[in-house]
């Protein structure tokens, strides 16, 4: 027996400790919470975090100036503490900001302002002029930067519907120039194309969006080498073959919504979205992973574990890391919304769900956004407590 115990102890000591995400203490990004201050981390593709040079930027919308406006906060990547928020928007109201890094500590933000999509270059010390990306009614902008190129996609009002268009962007100093905006899908407009998400790949770009043309919402994807011509849209979400509703000739499909893409800049592109194929417990977080730059995605995978099965999952975000694809979302399995994460170790193999200190517990924690940069996983979310709401941030490392 003594020999067996000694052997087991020796075995335990020789096994490598299992690596996991370890997060530093959270920080406030949007300043102190205030009563009736309502910060929102909402955007097409959940692209509210970016890094550039030695800085990290988070962008959000809140009403601190009396109307919904867009703000950014910057911190050093290697040093805790965000600087005071910068206001980026200049109109009557602004919503749904996204951001990418431009290098040299500059960032490009894009958002909806007074019913049109605009973009603005900013850094810790300077801001360029807000530049309209579209002269017509437009919304839900998403950005991608990679391989020295910049691209934007958004919904442009075309009659009754938003139609997805995309355009190349160029930045010179603090000035933005916009190339021709072209329809991502050139077939006739029949219904809404909503909430697109762009990712840069080694071959060009991948895009995913909500498409309502089939009488229900489908998620479609396409790729482009130059952003001017896009491949024929491919379905991303799988639709169950049999359902009692379909047999009755009712409805068209299960609910799917708010797809987010992330890539590693090479061939891997990951998508997450809210999927109600199991409608009794609300949305689940589903994922698809592409190994060919978004040209094809593997089978749909449920990202969350069984402990989240009885509760709806909301606001999924995704990052591609060398340690696996990471999904984050919020759900109320412990009565109030908390941030939950899961890491994909291999095909259809996701870790147990885990939380981050400060992103779970009293109050409400929701609307996560993710970024992998500089060997760190960057996470921001909205915390709501008795004293008000604020955007919070924490960074994690794999160890």
């Amino acid at each position: 027996m003594r020999m067996l115990a000694a052997g087991l102890l020796g075995l335990a000591l020789t096994l490598p400790a299992q690596a996991e995400w370890v997060f530093a203490d959270f920080e406030a990004a949007s300043g102190e919470p205030r009563v009736k201050l309502f910060p929102h981390l909402e955007s097409a593709g959940r692209g509210n975090l970016a890094a550039s040079g030695d800085r990290l930027a988070v962008v959000w919308e809140d009403n601190r100036d009396g109307s919904p406006q867009v703000y950014a906060a910057l911190r050093r990547l290697d040093r805790p503490g965000f600087a005071a928020p910068l206001r980026l928007s200049t109109g009557r109201e602004a919503y749904e900001p996204v951001v990418v890094g431009l290098g040299g500590d500059r960032f490009l933000a894009a958002f909806e302002q007074d019913g049109k999509v605009v973009a603005r270059v900013f850094s810790a010390t300077a801001q360029g002029a807000p530049t309209p990306l579209d002269q017509t009614v437009s919304a839900q902008v998403t950005l991608a930067a990679g391989n020295g190129r910049l691209h934007a996609a958004w919904g442009r009002r075309d009659g009754r519907f938003l139609r997805l268009v995309s355009a190349p962007l160029a930045v010179d100093g603090m000035q933005i120039s916009t190339g021709a905006a072209r329809a991502v899908d050139t077939s006739p407009t029949q219904d809404e194309q909503l909430y697109a998400s762009l990712a840069a790949t080694a071959q060009g770009y991948a895009i995913a969006w909500e498409d309502r043309r089939a009488g229900h919402t489908r998620l479609l994807t396409a790729t482009s080498s130059d952003g001017a011509q896009w491949s024929t849209p491919q379905p991303l979400n799988e639709i169950p073959r049999q359902s009692s509703a379909a047999e009755l000739g009712l409805g068209r499909g299960p609910g799917v919504t708010r797809v987010s893409l992330a890539g590693d800049g090479a061939a891997t592109v990951a998508a997450v979205w809210m999927d109600k194929r199991d409608f009794l417990s609300g949305y689940d977080t589903y994922a698809g992973v592409s190994a060919d730059g978004g040209q094809s995605f593997g089978a749909n995978e449920k990202a969350q574990d069984a402990f989240g099965a009885e509760k709806p999952q909301w606001h999924p975000a995704v990052a591609v890391t060398p340690h696996g694809v990471v999904a984050a979302w919020d759900d109320p399995r412990d009565d109030t919304p908390d941030i939950w994460l899961s890491t994909r170790h291999s095909e259809k193999e996701w870790s147990d769900d885990f939380t981050v200190t400060g992103a779970a517990g009293p109050g409400s924690q929701d609307n996560p956004v993710l970024l992998w940069h500089g060997d760190r996983l960057h996470l921001a979310w909205v915390h709501k407590g008795e004293g008000g709401a604020q955007v919070r941030y924490a960074q994690g490392r794999w160890e």
Binding site: H40, G215, A245, R252
Partner: protein
């Protein structure tokens, strides 16, 4: 445009209307924030319908329950009718002043499935939440429970047991 083209256009419109799970035709549904304003001005309670584009059970409810003329009259008389698309990015203003999307309102109210029907006081505070397909009789029963003020004294099931249709 010749007659055939007109017919095709009409058929396309009808098809488009049929496959959507929008609010049922002929009802005066309004957005959530507009409904709150109307309810506070009129003192009427709110009937809030959370639907979803392509939602099968919303479709069934529209076709089999809200099609009923008596139910339409009853609900139009008794409630401010509010419809929310649970996946929409349409923006609303809450009484707190917060601006948020219809989908976010669904997340806040934990609307995990569609359809979901909520009965609200004129100030927006919830009285009753019922998920899933409901028959004409179900809606009549809920209306008796709400309009009679019975929700202040007993649970819905107790009320229905004591007061069958």
């Amino acid at each position: 445009m010749n007659a055939l083209t007109c017919l095709l256009a009409l058929a396309t419109l009808l098809f488009a209307a049929a496959v959507q799970a929008d609010p049922p035709a002929g009802y005066a549904f309004v957005p959530y924030d507009e409904g709150l304003r109307q309810a506070q001005a009129s003192g009427r309670k709110i009937f809030l319908y959370f639907g979803r584009y392509g939602c099968a059970w919303c479709d069934k409810t529209n076709k089999e329950s809200f099609f009923d003329a008596g139910l339409k009259q009853r609900y139009s008389d008794n409630y401010v009718l509010v419809y929310v698309d649970a996946e929409s990015g349409n923006r609303l203003t809450l009484p707190s002043g917060e601006r948020l999307t219809e989908m976010e309102l669904g997340a806040r109210l934990n609307v995990f499935a569609t359809p979901v029907f909520l009965y609200l006081e004129p100030d927006g505070s919830p009285i009753l939440k019922v998920p899933g397909f409901k028959t004409v009789q179900d809606f009549r029963d809920f209306d008796r429970y709400i309009q009679g003020g019975h929700y202040r004294k007993m649970k819905l099931l107790e009320f229905l047991a004591e007061n069958p249709a």
